[in-house]
């Protein structure tokens, strides 16, 4: 029989738990303190945006959560388990699409699926087709990567990341290199996919409006050393339009906070 005590101790773990993570980069010239004692909890199905100026360590944090880098201090738990390396359940998307140019679109989607055991070739192709349709690019399955536009590349990268059905999607400024129109289209796409597939998404960006548009929660970073300063809950209904007035209110206050913390870290403001 379980007691209340037991239940309190065995609460369902958060999807992602970042505990006191610090990271230094030592180069010959300098010792950069990239992350300082960062802690963050992300619930199952939550869409969290990390915002901050460039060089504030938000991408480093994402890499550590992905398992591509190790923290110098602290730890990351995914589903209550210590992250020691990259894993299929935490898929990453980069600013450059990182699609493989020697494979066609279908081949790129199949790459991750082939590494997933217990699937037949037919099932893999079906899954790949499903996600290509989800991003609306099924007609381009045989295209080479260089034939795609920037927005299409990021759509394929998104499909490739979704195909092995990860629970967590880590996105490192995936839309930063795209033009504004394409980006707005992708905001719609990613919200729709998130609603349909209910992934936990951690989204790094330096674009405050983008963060306010996408996130349930916006986490503010400040640089030197990278620290979490503030959090904002965005309780606007979805799908959200990046140009809406309500959204602008949020992004204005986040921007104000961002500027304040930037000045503070540069020593221009007293506590």
């Amino acid at each position: 029989m379980t007691t209340i005590q037991d239940e309190l101790q065995n609460l369902p773990p958060e999807k992602l738990v970042v505990e006191g993570v610090s990271k230094w980069f030592r180069t010959r010239r300098a010792n950069v303190h990239a992350l300082d004692n960062v802690s963050l909890n992300v619930k199952e199905g939550e869409f969290v945006c990390l915002v901050g100026a460039s060089g504030c360590g938000k991408s480093t944090l994402l890499n550590i959560i992905a398992g591509l880098e190790t923290p110098d201090r602290g730890q990351v738990l995914a589903d209550g388990k210590l992250v020691t390396g990259p894993g299929r359940e935490r898929m990453m998307m980069f600013q450059e699409s990182a699609l493989f140019p020697w494979l066609d679109v279908m081949g790129n989607l199949m790459f991750g699926l082939k590494l997933k055991p217990k699937l037949t070739r037919k099932e893999r192709r079906r899954v790949a087709m499903f996600y290509l349709q989800l991003v609306g690019l099924e007609k381009f399955m045989d295209a080479s990567i260089h034939e795609l536009s920037g927005g299409m590349k990021q759509r394929v990268a998104l499909a490739r990341a979704l195909a092995p059905n990860p629970r967590v999607l880590l996105m490192d400024e995936p839309f930063a290199a795209l033009d504004a129109l394409t980006r707005e289209q992708l905001y719609g796409d990613i919200q729709e996919i998130w609603e349909k597939r209910r992934k936990t998404i951690l989204f790094v960006t330096h674009n405050v409006r983008e963060a306010a548009c996408l996130g349930d929660r916006v986490v503010l970073f400040s640089p030197h050393p990278g620290q979490i300063k503030e959090e904002f809950s965005i309780d606007l209904p979805r799908p959200r339009d990046i140009n809406s007035v309500e959204l602008a209110k949020f992004s204005t206050s986040i921007t104000r906070a961002l500027k304040y913390h930037l000045r503070k870290s540069a020593g221009e403001v007293d506590e």
Partner: protein
């Protein structure tokens, strides 16, 4: 279709001019045999059956030696890019030996292996191995690290990453290295065949050498032509399809 007409006319005009210059006595027939003389040489050579065996002997040496050069050069290049110790030791040696024309190995090869096929293979291998290895090494270093990172998040590890990401990612470099290795092997083999007589078989280089000794310039030009044609065919048959694939996939040419 039209693309063929102009080059064909050009070549025919060139041959006609050459034939005319020889017939008119402007060029001495002893020094420069006319195109028809070279044609006549081919007719006798094929009738007597001296040319096909020579082509066979040469191609066998080239293809086998090159295959060994590839089989060793590719993995060595991968290892060289992976391990710093190898880069600092074997890498330096390879860089040095790549600049050494591999026919320079002929005296040692003769001493070690005698006048045998093995000596020929050795020279061909030395000609191709280092370029292939260094091109692979260079190719691996030019693969954007983000590919490997993306692959790792998709569950790729160790050998799988090397064979499915790093190696295909470096393919444009590797293929140009393979081409260079082929050219080096071909050159060194020709030099070695002219330089060394092997009792077990006469290759094209040997025939070229005989041509010189007999003062039969029609034979010399004929053999040179065969060597050029083999080089062209190898390029068209072996490398062009691969290069076309690379250009199409990477989008690097029209």
């Amino acid at each position: 279709m039209k693309r063929w007409i102009l080059p064909t006319l050009c070549f025919l005009a060139f041959l006609a001019l050459w034939e005319w210059l020889v017939r008119a006595g402007t060029w001495s027939r002893v020094l420069v045999p006319s195109p028809l003389d070279v044609g006549a040489y081919f007719v006798t050579a094929f009738r007597e059956g001296t040319l096909w065996p020579a082509i066979y002997v040469t191609m066998k040496r080239l293809v086998l030696g090159y295959a060994v050069g590839l089989a060793a050069g590719l993995p060595l290049g991968l290892l060289n890019a992976r391990f710093k110790v190898l880069e600092d030791t074997l890498g330096v040696v390879a860089l040095g030996l790549q600049t050494l024309p591999s026919v320079c190995w002929a005296p040692l090869a003769l001493l070690w292996f005698g006048q045998t096929e093995t000596a020929m293979f050795f020279i061909v291998i030395m000609g191709s191995l280092w370029s292939v290895m260094l091109a692979t090494d260079n190719g691996v270093r030019n693969v954007p690290p983000i590919y490997a990172r993306a692959a790792r998040t998709m569950g790729s590890r160790g050998l799988h990453t090397w064979l499915r990401v790093i190696l295909p990612g470096s393919l444009p470099f590797v293929v140009s290295g393979m081409k260079q290795g082929w050219a080096f092997a071909w050159r060194s083999l020709m030099a070695a065949e002219i330089f060394i007589a092997i009792p077990t078989g006469s290759g094209l280089g040997t025939l070229l050498h005989y041509g010189r000794e007999l003062n039969a310039m029609d034979q010399v030009i004929g053999i040179m032509l065969v060597i050029v044609i083999i080089g062209l065919l190898a390029d068209k048959i072996l490398f062009s399809p691969v290069e076309r694939f690379l250009h199409r996939r990477w989008g690097t040419s029209k």
